[in-house]
Symmetry: C2
Subunit: 585 residues, 2 copies
């Protein structure tokens, strides 16, 4: 194997073009096997193999700095920078993260995972170089899909005026996760079709030097092109056309499916997996039904339809009532707010980790205008995810903005009632945290008025009250049952409201309860429990808050996190008993 | 006066061009007098008078919809849409806000004040129109300075692909608040110089129809131009060149000063106002001194140098060590993080209200990477500001992100020690909330290690502890003195740390205190006091949180807000006494 000779990028310099082509095939094979086993980003990595070899051949890393956007396409880079064992040896498959990680290698500059950050980060690296009077190349590698994000566009605008070396490689595979949307993509198409020589050029309009490489999966052509821009003293774009999924026919032909796959994604492709009733399907059904009856009902998302199960069939059914704005969450919130203000009935669906890109839009465009729009937050909760994709911050982010009613359903009927309330009755913004757990049913229609905070007191007892919010209501039930078994008569509450307190219920609780337990599936800081504590502590009621600590965890198993945060029935009971001994329950 | 005949835009249709020119002069005169009396945006409004008349002449508002960006240039619009009394009658000068406000008029669609939102909002309005099969023009009016914001760029990208009527008027006066920065502005210049016919065209590259009007302060030319695009079925840009400050010579020649002025700004122009020692000057002095000794020391801001007193003299002294990224806060945070990661020593200065545009960048680009960058937050605190420019949310936003050390100094020596710690010693991101009150001195050098949360226990007493954070430490002192006068012996604490709890001190407090009072100059939800309550409530300590409610207040006098929030010595004492009666202090 050629790869046997390659441990670090400097080893590449000794190879000839034929060997580099062989190396590309070898890397490709490793990626296909590894990703099919562990799951991960398939298409983006297969497309960027040659460009990664060429970058490391032409530039002198780590002195020259490469900054990856999202870094979901950094597997070939990892293989070439001392981490190939993580792709060769199945026992090491989980040793390295799926993103760049400075703690793994000096060839990785930043820990990233969210989109559209590379250009701005590269500008900062380059500016520091200039201030310190140093001399090397700073390269950002960004995919076409990521270009539409506000941070990337701000970064491009500024980078063009930097006045010194910065090389931005635009990896254009004509795809975001799904299709691209937006005017910029018309221009990229035009540029590809005219081999970089079209009349309109977005990058030149911003002031960049511009180079186009049509054969973005040809190592020789890439090396030739990169050599031309190496050591430039001007902000420069190298626009390369690549094939997403290159080398795996199925992935070349099904680029959306193979962007990111689960383990055994190749074998499972095309299989119809039958799933028990779940919130994803329920939501799609609700949307299709409403959209059929009301042409102003519209669903918006920002380039991640797969998160919500918005497959092609669903998209085709909705036609103009389905809007994908591309990677552009800020725009999505403002647009959704305005849709609602102008009499349409929009739902914006978003993954918890990505709503972080929109604080000011939530505050100013949506909340300040009190637009009766609906936002569905998916995957919210503590998880074993990468540090870059944690979903435990959304409650703290959203619930401290005025006017927004943030709701946490615990079962099918509540969820449907909340959807109905949000999209039909509400006069203010409603955000619903779609349960990230299996679907439960009560069998009874929920008739709650969700405009006013009203907790559901499921069992009324005394001395100890348990407030189990959203995903953690079930944990609340477990704690309740255990206390009952111990001969106590606690109160069990399903709060349902994340951002508003039900003062009436809390006032009742404070009078005949000594200990209040709050359970929430997210960080404690700025969350639900601290709001409850802030109110009840006035009266000297003991409040025990359970949730995650404010920290970035990185692929830590859920059970380990739950133990650390004491989010387990037996640990909670232990705390309650300790607490009871002090208050004489 | 021509204006006597104009009560609503429809009245304009009866005027001839000469009358419209006279009307423009009349409006200009009113604005100059009113703004010089009350303070407000001078230059932007003087520049847009003719375009506003032309828009309302050509389009049929309110059926046709105009969405203003920032809406700091909406004064002429207000005069033409039923609100002229607010500009004619000095007693009515404060009746209307300085921004669009739907509660004032059906001609105002959104409550806005932050930049770069108009295009995305207009897209939502237009899309709702299309879904409902309605028919009218949707117009966004956006200044050149606002174009560089991520939300605007995302919006433009998407708008270009909308496929139906949307007209974006780019009001190009070749200025942001200060100079423009970024590649886009090179293109705008090129377009202006070639009367819209240059080789590179940013807007055409995105796919827009593009029109250029060189005489943006000529009603006749504007009307001619707007008529051409009215009822278009394509996304269209009308690029108009206007003169900021038009009609007031001083404002035409001093565009940065006259962007926004205080009352009597005309008379005070050029006067050297002598100010007592203050945090603004202290910060500038610190920066200049550090920058002189270290070429890698660099200060970054996003288009609002005036907020920090970064005047031309200061900027010129710093040369390449001063970076204005334009309106691009997301880029600014990422760039600042990367500057720090690559060995420079950056400070990013930002107004509290505008840091809201960067949550994900604070989280991912900065905090996750633990970059030792410094951020200075100005104007943080409860205020009588417009609902769009409140500065009471920053603590709740920043202090719930892991790894960020958010500090609240209360005097000169602490502030300098924190600056030194942040820019010289820290290995993690530090944010400092620059006090928004007059400068106090202790006369003693502060030697605290700010890497570890350690509250300053100023007076150690018992039963009652007062935690007065940042701006409200002084209020804490007042409450302390009053309780002393009443024969009590309370504890007074200056916490200094917003985002981290000092568990050691809190553990001591809990043992011999029954009531803990927290005071913070911001919203309570997600803030400092609730963190303290979340910890102490576990032990049944009574905690009274004082701060603002989670709400958008709109130009409410500070005294009224303090009374409402009980942020006054006598009201707090009243609460404490009530509370004491229940706990037997």
């Amino acid at each position: 194997m050629v790869l046997d000779k390659i441990n670090f990028p400097s080893d590449l310099k000794a190879l000839n073009f034929d060997e580099m082509k062989t190396l590309a095939s070898e890397i490709r094979e490793l990626i296909i096997k590894k990703v099919d086993t562990t799951g991960g980003h398939m298409g983006p990595n297969l497309g960027i193999v040659e460009a990664t070899i060429a970058m490391h051949y032409v530039f002198n890393t780590p002195k020259d700095k490469i900054i990856f956007d999202v870094s979901h396409q950094s597997y070939p880079h990892k293989i070439l920078t001392g981490r190939k064992e993580g792709f060769i040896n199945p026992e090491m498959y989980f040793k390295y993260t799926g993103y760049t990680a400075p703690e793994e290698s000096e060839y990785d500059l930043f820990k990233v995972g969210h989109t559209s950050t590379s250009v701005s980060l590269a500008v900062g690296v380059a500016k520091a170089r200039d201030l310190k009077n140093e001399n090397y190349n700073v390269i950002a590698l960004i995919g076409d899909g990521s270009l539409s994000g506000g941070e990337a566009l701000e970064g491009l605008d500024y980078a063009a005026s930097l006045g010194s070396n910065i090389i931005i490689i635009v990896n254009d595979n004509d795809m975001s996760i799904a299709e691209n949307y937006g005017g910029l993509y018309g221009n990229l198409k035009e540029l590809r079709e005219h081999k970089g020589k079209s009349e309109n050029n977005f990058f030149k309009a911003l002031g960049f030097e511009y180079f186009y490489i049509d054969e973005g999966n040809d190592v020789e052509k890439l090396i030739e092109g990169f050599k031309k821009v190496k050591d430039t003293n001007k902000p420069t774009i190298v626009h390369i056309k690549t094939q997403k999924g290159k080398g795996l026919k199925l992935a070349e032909e099904n680029r959306e499916y193979f962007h990111w796959i689960l383990p055994n994604g190749i074998e499972d492709f095309g299989k119809n997996v039958s799933m028990p009733e779940n919130y994803t399907d329920l939501t799609k059904e609700y949307i299709l039904n409403e959209a059929k009856n009301d042409p102003s009902f519209v669903v918006v998302n920002a380039a991640t339809p797969g998160v919500f199960g918005f497959d092609k069939e669903f998209r085709n059914k909705l036609k103009g009532q389905y809007v994908d704005v591309g990677i552009a969450e800020e725009h999505a919130i403002a647009m959704t707010s305005a849709l609602a203000k102008n009499g349409a009935r929009p739902i914006f669906a978003v993954m918890s980790s990505f709503i972080q890109r929109t604080y000011d839009q939530l505050s100013q465009d949506l909340a300040l205008n009190n637009s009766p729009a609906t936002i569905l937050v998916y995957w919210g909760g503590i998880s074993n995810a990468d540090a870059t994709h944690l979903c435990s911050f959304d409650m703290s982010l959203i619930s401290n903005i005025p006017n927004i009613n943030y709701l946490a359903p615990t079962n099918k009927e509540e969820y449907l009632a909340m959807l109905d309330y949000a999209t039909k009755k509400s006069t203010t913004p409603t955000v619903i945290r779609v349960p990230a757990i299996s679907l439960e049913k009560t069998g009874m229609t929920d008739k709650t008025d969700y405009s006013k905070a009203k907790y559901n007191v499921v069992f009324e007892g005394k001395d100890i009250a348990i407030l189990g919010l959203g995903n953690f209501y079930k944990l609340g039930v477990e704690v309740y049952n255990e206390l009952k078994n111990k001969g106590l008569n606690p109160t069990l509450i399903n709060p349902k409201f994340i951002s508003k307190l039900d003062f009436e219920t809390l006032d009742k609780i404070k009078d005949n309860h000594k200990i209040v337990i709050t359970l929430e599936d997210g960080i404690l800081d700025g969350g639900f429990g601290q709001k409850v504590a802030g109110y009840l502590a006035k009266f000297g009621v003991k409040v025990l808050n359970y949730g995650a600590l404010k920290e970035f965890t990185d692929r830590i198993p859920l059970d380990e996190l739950y133990t650390k945060y004491r989010l387990k029935k037996e640990l909670i009971i232990e705390d309650v008993i300790n607490s009871m001994n002090l208050v004489n329950v």
